[in-house]
């Protein structure tokens, strides 16, 4: 836990510096043109505070009284870490597939994988949810709210449906 705490705090320090570098593209001090602080001041100085606090966490972690100082448990639970990683990867793959395969391929494939392979459910439940969810999404988002979900190369398949509902 202690190592993870240090790594995270160090990561936040790096992130703060990155934010400060970005913010400094705009004036970070007094803006002579409009008066008042410049456009970069607010994010710059707040990132500065973030940097100092994260630094404080790193320094504190070397003291005996630090939080997690006597906590030897691993940061990630080894029994369930695999599940978290696998689900995150599947979710990332689904989002990556959205622009070209479209929501109506990517989401059912995700559901099929999640329910059948990951969740080990029967075919009836898997099939019902895999088919009903995209149908619901189509009628709710596209037909009712007129929000078109990404379709990628499946777009031509929907032309007859568009003609019918719009």
């Amino acid at each position: 836990m202690l190592t993870a705490d240090r790594v995270l705090a160090a990561g936040i320090m790096v992130l703060s510096v990155y934010f400060m570098w970005h913010a400094s593209a705009l004036p970070i001090g007094w803006n002579g043109m409009t008066g008042g602080p410049g456009g970069g001041a607010f994010p710059f100085w707040l990132s500065g505070i973030m940097f100092l606090c994260a630094g404080g966490i790193v320094v504190r972690s070397f003291k005996d009284s630090a939080p997690f100082a006597k906590d030897d448990t691993p940061f990630f639970d080894p029994d369930t870490l695999r599940s978290v990683v696998v689900v995150t990867l599947a979710l990332t793959a689904t989002v990556a597939a959205l622009p070209f395969a479209g929501a109506y391929i990517a989401i059912p494939v995700f559901l099929l994988w999640y329910l059948k392979i990951y969740g080990k459910h029967g075919w009836v439940l898997t099939g019902a949810l895999t088919i009903c969810t995209p149908v619901f999404l189509f009628f709710f988002f596209e037909v009712t709210l007129k929000i078109l979900l990404p379709k990628g190369w499946t777009e031509p398949w929907f032309f007859p449906l568009y003609a019918r509902f719009f």
Binding site: M1, A4, D5, L8, F19, H22, A23, L26, M33, T34, G35, G36, P37, G39, G40, F42, P43, L46, S47, I49, M50, C53, A54, G56, I57, R60, P67, F75, F76, D77, T80, L81, S83, V84, V87, T88, L91, T92, T94, V95, L98, A103, I107, F110, L111, Y114, L115, Y118, G119, H121, L129, T133, L137, F140, F141, T144, L145, I147, L148, P150
Partner: protein
Amino acid sequence: MELLGYLGDGFATSLMPINILIVMIGVTAGLFIGAMPGLGSVNGVAIVLPITFIVPPSSAIILLCAIYYGAMYGGAISSILLGIPGASTAVATTFDGRPMAQQGKAGLALIAAAAASFVGGTISVVLFTLFAVPLADVALAFGPAEEFALVLLAFTTFVGLGGDDVLKTIIMICLGLVLSAVGLDLISGDPRLIFFDQPGFYSGISFLVLAIGIYGVGEILYTIETQKSAPQVTPAKITFRELWYGLKEINKLWKTMSFGSFLGFFVGMLPAAGATPAALMSYGIAKLLSKKPETFGKGAIEGVAAPETANNAASTGSLLPMLTLGIPGSPTTALLLGGMVMWGLVPGPMLFIEQPDFVWGLISSLYTANLFAVLVNLALIPLFVWALRMPFTVLCSLVFVLCLVGGFAPSQKLHDVWLIVGFGVVGYVLRKADYPMAPLVLALVLGPLMERSFRQTLIAEQGNMMAFVERPISGTFMAIAALFFVLPMLKHIKRLLRRDLSPAE
């Protein structure tokens, strides 16, 4: 009397068939969301918000408030039947609710929770009605300096009263504020913090993206890791005899429940406190004042009623500063505030003058939401018992799909969907290392107001920083904020002194 007139007009809106239907749908959805382990009001509102575009803004906010209420009632259901709190706000309900269920009194515990929630909700809505107008009137006198001081005060309550690691709390507040600055500079219009030159960042980071990421994706990842085996559902059936007996028992607990309601309402108003500490405090005080404190933790009905009145009262309490001052009292109300801004309504005192129909419609809908929540809650208990048996993987997969599609819908940019996954993973990791999430969401929602009021004041006062302290109202807020800020330091010094005085330790 004027108040009653306003409220009467409000009921004319909230009792319209469409709004009654919306309240019923909202509380039912909220009850289910709240009853699901791992999902609470904030998750429910975050996931459902993008799909509320289907109804007009006034109905959308009524729907979301009904979900908020329903989820507060629903949290108790899994606390009692599974022994796992449906949301952190229902943690205290497990202390006595679970032992009651194990003793075969699950039905009684559920009745007590529902009735207590109703009492807490109703007393707090009455308080809300009484306090809303005076508070909004005071807030009318606020200029940018007061607005800045008030937002600062809201953030310092997290430092002083939040109970989380102070350094980590400050980091999360600053991170939220920096993320709120992404996009175009408020005053000059220059682009700033456009990471990796991605055009998606020009429109800023929506609070919705962060909320769905953290409370949707992040929450489910967290639950996947922490829930190793399927929990056991205690069966519960409610008969009329039990209902009658339960209501008679609850009737004896007026003192506990009124105290819990007042406590919950006022604690709920503070951004850092909210429903979870209110429920725990109410439980603690009920035990302290009880004639039979030894029964607490072993299935005392009082131990169920006390936290349930307080957490419902707190949820109403947190709506008060959101609606009257534009400062949310909890992460859920921060999302409601963001939603209102998205629909073109600006919460704050002017709302009471410009949109009285909306405000009073909303307030009166809280009364109806309360009534429907208790009725739906008691009527659908067999359904909840069935729903709680739903495999967790089914719930997860559907929440994931809703997060992805719901995150895409408002802006129709895949950029936002990527951010949701990113925030979900980062939020999950940070949460594991005890970084608090509520200040982050609140800071992202309040960031633009804070920056604008800060810069407006300084421009108007030609850079005189003392302007924030010299004006009486803003000066008072600043003084209280400073007090909250030094509070953890004082506690630390006290601890050090005590350690020096007791060398034997």
